[in-house]
């Protein structure tokens, strides 16, 4: 196991105020993520895994606790610093792809590479996820699995240090989901990008080196997976 911790979270809590209701999404989470590893955050809906991922990615801030990214405290960072952090260090993949509908696959990747320091070519990133043939299609002309692979290409094109994926297969059937997970695995393997994948699907957790179980805003168990299953062999 690589010893270098990319993330170090201590006592992280998050409380959402939804109108008149207070939702305790995280109730004190301690966590480390190590360079180059592929982890799965496993938990049911409402367990707090998305919230945790959003905080790691600088999309949201913790109510209390500290999150260190390579020694820098993200909980103390202002919007400008978080923007810089996201721009240069993090790639995101969302459940609903969040492609810009008015841009083609290539342009959706370009919108990120244009602001990155050392990006790969958009076409290269798309080839890496098996979409070299569909560069100039608009999101509406792509299937769900293809759209999600565009989103992965978009996330990795800037060569981020970490890749954060929130239910990347959540909107896909299992066959397409396998293709997407395979793409993630390949990126992790070939680029050495630290990758965290959220899922509620126990089978998918098989691809991870470590499986972090969450329930009701707390980490209940961290499981080391000695026998990783290649994505292509998964079925659910």
């Amino acid at each position: 196991m690589p010893a270098e911790a990319v993330f170090q979270a201590r006592g992280v809590t998050k409380i959402y105020e939804m109108g008149e209701v207070k939702v305790h999404a995280l109730r004190g989470v301690d966590l480390e993520l190590y360079a180059g590893e592929l982890v799965v955050l496993l938990g049911a809906s409402g367990s707090g895994k998305s919230t945790l991922l959003n905080i790691l990615g600088g999309l949201d801030t913790a109510t209390s606790g500290t999150v260190l990214y390579r020694g820098t405290d993200l909980t103390r960072a202002d919007d400008r610093a978080l923007t810089h952090y996201r721009r240069h260090h993090v790639g995101f993949v969302f459940q609903f792809y969040n492609l810009i509908p008015s841009l083609t696959a290539r342009e959706n990747v370009a919108i990120v590479t244009e602001i990155a320091d050392d990006p790969m070519l958009p076409a290269t990133a798309l080839e890496l996820v098996g979409l070299g043939e569909r560069l100039d299609h608009f999101p509406a002309q792509l299937s769900g699995g293809e759209q999600q692979r565009v989103a992965i290409a978009r996330a990795i094109a800037k060569r981020p240090e970490v890749l954060l994926c929130d239910e990347p297969t959540g909107a896909l059937d299992s066959e397409t989901g396998v293709v997407v997970l395979d793409a993630l695995e390949r990126v992790n393997r070939e680029l050495g990008t630290t990758t965290a994948v959220i899922t509620h699907n126990v089978v998918q957790a098989g691809i991870a080196e470590r499986i972090i179980h969450l329930r009701d805003g707390l980490i209940t168990r961290v499981e080391i997976n000695p026998r990783r299953t290649p994505a292509q062999e998964l079925t659910w």
């Binding site: 959003n54 923007t83 969040n98 919108i111």
Partner: protein, 787 residues
């Protein structure tokens, strides 16, 4: 091109119909502003240049007869830089092929050279030559009205003798930009014109050789007009001076200043209101448009675009719409302005209109609209980027709905589910609903502002020429005449009734305020000239005291019971204290009234009359015209009908051309706003509506939910718009008050009706377009990509 910018263009193209509607709102605001302001700026510059280049005099004086040697003494007055003595004479004319009475003013000019002051712009032909006694130059409007050209002939009754005059030139002068016949208020070029004749010829005809009866002078920079006028009066008094006066009360200049004041008001107030409304609407529309992009803002921020970059992106998007509209608005505005300029040139007769695009005007128009658009964007973007990207990317959390007021009042049985949805949606976003209502209401209000004026004008005509002035013909005598003249007129064929009039020039003083006007003498029991009170009811002329028009009373700050000082400026020039007996309402002009014999006693030259009002028999009109023309004591006759026609023409020119444009653009703005409100509501709620379709609601039912809301907002907006429009129109009426006119605020049902029809029409058209979009709603697509 960067992908970020490509997104911009594609997004713009996707929402092109909305973008075009927004651009049109900007276009309407900018075009109105640019056209009207530019015309005004150009007119004022043209007038200034014209006055300067053609040496319009600073002061004037009229005398009965002064020897030319007096000229030297006038020239020695400190502050006087140039003097031009002249002979002038009112004259009756006969123009071939025109049977009605035509009056003219003969003004002397030096032979073979330009006068020192009030120079002539020769449009055609030449100056009069020495030794040619029958040569005249005609004012251009008069010449055109009768199709007279150099070489044409016309007959003048000069000092009782008919003389045939030959036209040698067509000219313009700053002194007679507007040729208004004394006793009337508006120019009527068919019936009144200025003619220039050689000084020697004119002096010979009127026994003025070696003398003058009129003088114009200019001042050195910094000289005091009042001091000079006082000294001129002192010198001219022994020769029958009637009081020197400055350029400010010179009839043509006064009329043009009053008209320009009206124009300036309408060309400033109205377009600014338009521009402000357009800017406000733009702000609302744009801010809603950007609010819709909340999720994309979240995604862009998640990628690491800074809040500034995202803001700039949307600013650019809106600037494209606003600047496209502004650019088109400038082009349309300049074109319209040039068109309006030509119209004004037709009327004001400058040698040429110096029409120039005014840079400050354009900068203001573009700055205000784009500024409002950018502020609208920034507000919305600031709200969107303030959210953490994780929250922004999620659809906005389900808002807290409540039972509506109606439901809480226990009327829920009266509402079905869709109606409940409409009401709850409106109640949930009160600010937005309010802004939409205000937006639609302001477009309704500017429609009313654009249109109400013609009704006010009709009311002025009804009161002035239906109630107060009932004569068919207004006859002015050469000077005060005995009352026997009225008996003679009554005996003429074609005259059904005649009443005397008497106008005495006076200066009215109250405390330190003063005003020069004429007191009209009204005989007791007069039928043709009614003095009306502030409720527009005729009142009998009080036997004692003076009646002031409301505006004059305001200027003098005098109320009934106050004593004012009357300085008579003719005859024995007496000064008397006279109590104010009543205040009268008068829309046109500003006069004072006294009982006729009381006025005559005050002036002190017996029972004189200065004119007559006639009711005529239209069948004998021609004979009557001929008879009046041949009477030497008749200086001029003015027909009521002509008066009304020239009033309408004047109003058309200064107001109605503008209001037509305004109405058109107000319609454009109304449509742009309603359409955008409908489209944005659709975008905001397509998911919700698609879900309802999935649940089995019909197209008509979901249309009802969306369009019912629009209809409800429009219905609420109409009365608000009526109210705003009425308030704004009242403000405009106030701003339009000049010494020459005052307008009543008349808001007819027709104006409200048209304004409502335009707004409702815009709503219907928008509804049809939105309905077609609803029918094509992609149910699966909308639901597929979102939780």
């Amino acid at each position: 091109m960067r992908a970020f910018d490509r997104k911009l263009l594609r997004d713009l193209s996707t929402m092109r119909s909305q973008a075009i509607a927004i651009a049109f709102v900007v276009l309407a605001g900018v075009a109105t502003y640019v056209a009207m302001r530019n015309v005004m700026v150009s007119l004022e510059r043209t007038l200034d240049d014209y006055y300067r280049e053609y040496r319009f005099a600073d002061g004037f004086a009229t005398v009965r007869r002064a020897p030319e040697s007096v000229r030297e003494r006038l020239a020695e007055i400190p502050g006087v830089s140039a003097i031009e003595t002249r002979v002038t004479a009112p004259v009756n004319l006969e123009v071939p092929g025109f049977d009605e009475p035509v009056a003219g003013l003969l003004v002397s000019v030096p032979e073979d050279e330009q006068p020192l002051l009030n120079r002539l712009f020769i449009r055609e032909g030449r100056l009069v030559r020495a030794g040619r006694e029958d040569e005249v130059l005609l004012n251009e409007t008069f010449a055109q009205a009768h199709e007279l050209r150099p070489g044409s002939e016309l007959t003048a009754i000069v000092n009782g003798k008919r003389r045939v005059l030959t036209v040698v030139g067509i000219a313009l002068t700053p002194e007679h930009l507007l040729q208004v016949q004394p006793g009337t208020l508006f120019p009527d070029p068919e019936r009144y014109g200025v003619l220039w004749m050689g000084r020697r010829a004119l002096a010979a005809a009127y026994d003025m050789e070696g003398a003058f009866n009129d003088v114009a002078f200019s001042l050195t920079p910094g000289a005091s007009l009042d001091d000079v006028l006082e000294r001129v009066d002192l010198i001219l008094d022994p020769y029958g001076g009637v009081g020197a006066y400055g350029r400010d009360v010179q009839p043509s200049h006064w009329a043009i200043s009053e008209e320009f004041r009206g124009l300036r008001t309408s060309s400033t107030t109205l377009p600014i209101v338009f521009l402000a409304v357009a800017a406000f609407l733009l702000n609302i529309v744009v801010s809603r448009l950007i609010t819709l992009q909340r999720e994309q803002v979240g995604v862009l921020k998640a990628f690491g675009y800074s809040s500034g970059a995202v803001g700039l992106h949307y600013v650019k998007m809106v600037l494209v719409m606003a600047l496209a509209g502004a650019a088109a608005g400038i082009v349309v505005g300049l074109w319209l302005g040039a068109l309006m300029g030509d119209l004004y040139l037709e009327y004001y007769r400058f040698p040429a209109l110096e029409y120039q695009a005014s840079v400050p005007v354009i900068v203001t128009a573009v700055g205000l609209t784009t500024g409002a658009a950018v502020l609208g964007v920034l507000g919305a973007v600031r709200r969107a980027v303030r959210l953490s990207p994780a929250i922004a990317m999620r659809p906005a959390p389900p808002p807290l709905y409540r039972r509506t007021l109606l439901e809480r009042l226990g009327l829920e049985g009266a509402l079905d589910q869709p109606s409940r949805m409409i009401l709850r949606n409106l109640e949930r976003q009160p600010v937005r609903s309010l802004l939409t209502v205000v937006g639609i209401a302001s477009s309704c209000a500017i429609l009313i502002m654009g249109m109400f004026f013609s009704d006010s004008i009709e009311d002025v005509l009804r009161v002035e020429y239906g109630v107060a002035q009932r004569e068919d013909l207004n006859v002015t005598f050469v000077g005060p005449t005995s009352t026997a003249a009225i008996q003679e007129l009554r005996a003429l064929r074609g005259v059904r009734w005649a009443e005397p009039t008497r106008a005495a020039p006076v200066r009215l003083r109250h405390e330190h305020r003063e005003y020069d006007t004429a007191i009209q003498g009204v005989p007791p029991g007069a039928y043709l000239r009614q003095v009306i009170d502030t409720d527009l009811q005729p009142i009998p002329i009080p036997p004692e005291g003076i009646v002031l028009t409301e505006r004059l009373a305001e200027i003098l700050r005098a109320a009934p019971g106050d004593e004012i000082l009357v300085e008579v400026r003719e005859g024995a020039r007496r000064t008397r204290n006279v109590p104010v007996a009543a205040i009268t309402q008068q829309y046109v002009g500003m006069a004072a009234y006294m009982e006729l014999s009381r006025l005559n006693r005050m002036v002190g030259n017996g029972q004189a009359v200065s004119g007559a009002l006639l009711l005529t028999d239209s069948r004998a009109e021609e004979a009557l015209t001929q008879a009046l023309r041949e009477r030497p004591q008749v200086a001029s006759t003015v027909s009521q009908e002509r008066m009304i026609a020239s009033f309408r023409e004047t109003m058309d020119r200064s107001m109605l051309t503008m209001t037509l444009i305004l109405t058109l653009f107000a319609g454009v703005i109304a449509f742009g706003v309603v359409y955008n409100a409908a489209r944005i509501s659709l975008s905001e709620r397509d998911r919700e509506l698609a879900s309802l379709r999935v649940l089995g609601l019909t197209r008509a039912e979901i249309s009802f939910i969306l369009l019912g809301e629009l209809a409800l907002l429009t219905l609420v907006a109409l009365p608000v718009g009526f109210l705003l429009g009425s308030i704004a129109s009242a403000g405009l009426v106030q701003a339009f008050q000049t010494d020459m006119y005052r307008f009543p605020l008349v808001l007819s049902r027709k104006v409200f009706g048209i304004a409502a029809a335009v707004v409702i029409g815009s709503t219907l058209v928008s509804a049809v377009i939105v309905r077609r979009k609803l029918d094509r709603l992609d149910l699966v697509g909308v639901l597929k990509t979102r939780e």
